[in-house]
Amino acid sequence: MTMETVLTLSSYLPATRSHGGEIRLAEISDYLCNSEYEVINAGVLSYETDKLPTTFIKKPDFNPVTNIVGNSFLMEDACISLLTSAGHLQAAALQERIKTTPKVIHIEQPWLFELGIRYRDQFSPGSKIVYGSANIEHKLKQSIVEQYFGREHAARCATIVKEIEEDAIRRSDICIAVTEEDKHYILSVDKTKSVYICPNASNAPKPNERGFHRVHQLTKGKKYALFVGSGHPPNVEGFLHFLGGHSAAFSGDVLLVIAGSAGNAIKNNHNYNDKFIFKHKVIFPGFVDQPTLDALIKMAHQILLPIRQGGGSNLKTAEALLSQRSIVASSCAMRGFEKFANEARVTIADTPTIFKRSVAANFLETCMPPIDYKEIGGTECLTWKHSLSPLNKVLKDLTGPSK
């Protein structure tokens, strides 16, 4: 039996797994492969890279649409959509890179939706379109842009993104959301749409000896709080909002480990440099390999989730919950994982003072055994295997009963 092909379109590379979006798409691809689909990852990159896979189009020149967005900074992904609509990006360019005709086109985030539709119409008329929504994009974009360019520009950007996003919802065959809240938003745009929820998730950490050793080298056996994040602006903003300035969170013989590219962004942020008083207690291991990250998570005294912006759900929350360590998180970070919010060692903190106090209070606790979530059904629901299981139904609905 020939394997049916699923084409994924994205503005980033899933294989890199350097941020939540890439990890999610990589996990979706893995899941589909394990379900005996052939998966082709393709798209148009919104950033420069040295290692461009053959199925991806390199970052285009945004100049032709700069007048529409005013400034392409932070709107690179939306520019891809605008370039396509204006005819500067051709579906043929995508066709040249894809050898087979896909049965399903999964478009992760709305940025490549216009290109995906054009590709389908011109080269693959029978393909079904899945819109993979990871967020309510226009709201998130507005809050990010506002920090840099003020309200007026942010509102203009949000309007552009909203149009792109709602177009994707209306013209797709099926939508995938990450939370109930996002599903309601999608249905408010098109109440007839089939929407499946595949929350963000993680895999249980599997540290190895080398990972443990590396962590020990980094932390010298001291208690530490862990913040893992990409350089995505909301990660930096959230960290500085909840933990910046004068803070008792890291007094005493403890450390803060900031892993991932968030570290660089935070290190170079003037608010961090001017106001964070425990800079000498912060370790920036940067982007670490998976075993080291898993060991960092496993050995952490507590895991911090200081997120303030964005819809969707945070896959770092799933990762933290799966680690069974103590957690201090904002309500926003717990979106999609609300049933864990009342657990004894999960602290919800929505003001900087409470966040700092919770971190400091956790450090006063001795090392605790892993949290057992037995009473609320364990941690199975946090795994990708569980969260992506609706995909089988999605593809069955779209491709017929053959699978």
Binding site: F212, T219, G221, A248, D253, A360, L364, C367, P370
Partner: protein, 587 residues
């Protein structure tokens, strides 16, 4: 039970004590001199060794007197040995502690020795008003106060205003357990010099016939000399007073930073030329003369932790016009005239209004109504806090040692009192953990060790031993019994170890012992958590304890040393439960 007073600041001081140095001096002096039964011992911080040493009390007091009299100090006598604190000891530290950079070290002493700690907050101006400070002092000031508040049993504050500032700051910073705080009122310093000796101060010819208004303070931006200058300017320009009634303004104080432009303005401004006199080096007798002969004083500071010049003025029987912000109303009470320091106009009006009063009547009222505060009262207040802290400290103190294995192995000098706690991963096929603890002779101690680890597969041939040394001689090799609690599901393991016999040190070997905990294994083992508890036992409990050990032996042998986590709770005999540390009981 001893109270150590950290006098590092004053013992290093080489001039007559002022400000915080004077507070440390006066409190130490009064506590030592007036309360000999309380065992107050002055000590100094050795920044290199990161430990305290005792300073000879008599020599310290003699040196203080020398400083006051302007005589040279003698070399302080400092003990060669470091202080070995006991859990019932208290450390009082009220000097320029943020400059000592010792918070982390004191934190370790506090955790390992379980001492009581009483600190002091004069103000948090560098945090609240960094613009008035040189360099980035805000950051290390904030670190200092967060660090000290996290470990202190009590913080003394010099005003309610400072206490409120500190409390709000700590709360906003998220400190979980803000320590108790209280206010102690500083003593007033009255300079007792015979002013008859001064017949003609060198500056006397520069003073207007109408007299002068005195402003005693370091000349810096926060003290707001600008307001005094602008108020005088306004009085002259707006003709609020007739020319012949305008007094001279005398600023007494060392020149600080950030005031060059103001001093230039004062020097060049034709309106105020000759009307403001700046005296940077005045002797005590000259200052005494100034207080005695001034019309009144002004103190327009933007912000203070207390307001010593206000009290000094009142103690000298002179009215004071001062700012209505921060702690200044606490210092001036109903005796001072207040104004808004952000309004030179307000100050000008207050000065004019004061000059129109019957000043002799004002002097009379102040002398009869204002009671200068005594340093002995301040010391008594501190003494009561120290007593409260000592009395309220828990009877059975647990010193906690949450430090990394690396530092334990390196220093071999980690002190535990009756109970120690070590948390760290251990790597390698053989690891040794050394720690020191002080045991009292003829008391029995129960030894418990709990270990948690990540991979129970690697536990084959794990050898765990405990050896106790005294003066480098092996005192005992303690046999440890073990209860394994292995989690089948996660491969995590938990081991509870306990000694078969209570540990008792003979009278000849009481005091400090070294405990060596040896872990050997055929493959690498990763321990995520090790805790060592050495708990004093009452005599009556010993028989019961030994009975339980027998039961435990039988139980362990019957279970082949290993119990899975599904049947642990139900099958473990109830009378063994308390041999297992709480954290493992819950598994």
């Amino acid at each position: 039970m001893t109270t150590y007073i950290n006098v590092t600041t004053s013992s290093n001081w080489a001039r007559p004590p002022v400000g915080i140095v004077r507070v440390e001096v006066e409190i130490a002096k009064h506590l030592i001199a007036f309360y000999p039964a309380e065992q107050f011992i002055p000590c100094v911080w050795d920044g290199n060794a990161k430990k305290f040493r005792i300073i000879d009390t008599a020599r310290y007091l003699v040196n203080l007197k020398s400083l006051e009299l302007g005589l040279p100090k003698k070399e302080p006598r400092i003990s060669k040995d470091f202080i070995e604190f006991w859990p019932s000891d208290t450390l009082l530290s009220i000097g320029l502690d943020w400059d000592l950079g010792f918070v982390d070290d004191i934190s370790l002493i506090k955790k390992t020795r379980g001492i009581n700690l009483v600190g002091c907050c004069y103000d948090i101006i560098p945090v609240l008003y960094p613009q008035y400070c040189v360099g980035d002092v805000a950051s290390y000031f904030a670190q200092y106060f967060i660090g000290i508040a996290a470990i202190a049993d009590h913080i003394l504050c010099i005003s309610h205003s400072s206490m409120r500032d500190l409390y709000e700051f700590l709360e906003e910073a998220g400190l979980p357990n803000i320590p108790p705080m209280s206010v102690f009122r500083l003593g007033d310093t009255v300079i007792n010099t015979d002013t008859r000796e001064i017949t003609a101060p060198t500056f006397k010819h520069s003073i207007s016939e109408r007299g002068f208004i005195l402003f005693v303070s370091t000349i810096e931006r926060r003290k707001n000399h600008q307001a005094a200058y602008l108020a005088l300017r306004k009085i002259i320009i707006d003709k609020l007073l007739q020319e012949e009634y305008i007094p001279t303004f005398i600023f007494v104080g060392m020149k600080g930073w950030g005031i060059d432009e103001l001093l230039k303005d004062i020097e060049l401004d034709p309106v105020t030329t000759g009307r403001i006199l700046i005296l940077s080096h005045v002797t005590d007798s000259e200052l005494s003369w100034l207080y005695k002969n001034c019309l009144f004083t002004i103190f327009p500071s933007f912000y203070e932790g207390w307001g010593l010049p206000i009290c000094e003025s009142l103690a000298h029987g002179k009215p004071v016009i001062c700012s209505n912000t921060s702690s200044m109303p606490e210092a001036g009470l109903e005796h001072a005239r207040y104004f808004d320091p952000y309004s030179p106009k307000d100050l000008a009006e207050a000065i004019v209004e004061m000059l129109q009063r019957d000043l002799d009547r004002e002097y009379y009222d102040i002398i009869h109504k204002y009671k200068p505060a005594r340093w002995s009262d301040a010391a008594f207040c501190v003494l009561n806090v120290l007593k409260d802290v000592t009395n309220n400290s828990p009877k059975e103190k647990h010193a906690i040692l949450p430090i990394g294995i690396q530092s334990v192995l390196k220093t071999e000098n980690v002190h535990l009192s009756e109970r120690g706690y070590i948390s760290s991963p251990i790597f390698g096929k053989a690891s040794r953990l050394f720690f020191k603890c002080r045991l009292e002779s003829k008391l029995n101690y129960q030894i418990q060790i709990e270990i948690q680890g990540e991979d129970s597969k690697s536990l084959e041939n794990l050898d765990l031993r405990l050896r106790i040394f005294h003066d480098m001689e092996i005192l005992k090799e303690v046999i440890l019994n073990r209860l394994f609690l292995k989690s089948n599901r996660s491969q995590r393991f938990f081991i509870a170890l306990y000694a078969s016999q209570p540990l008792m040190v003979s009278s000849g070997s009481s005091g400090e012992i070294t405990v060596e905990f040896i872990c050997q294994c055929s493959s690498k083992v990763i321990f995520s958590d090790i805790r060592v508890n050495i708990l004093p036992m009452k005599r009556k409990a010993i028989n019961l304890f030994q009975e339980k050990i027998v039961n435990a032996h039988n139980y362990v042998l019957g279970r082949h040393d290993m119990v899975n986590d599904n049947n642990t709770k139900s099958s473990l005999p109830l009378d063994l439960i308390d041999l297992i540390p709480p954290v493992l009981r819950e598994m």
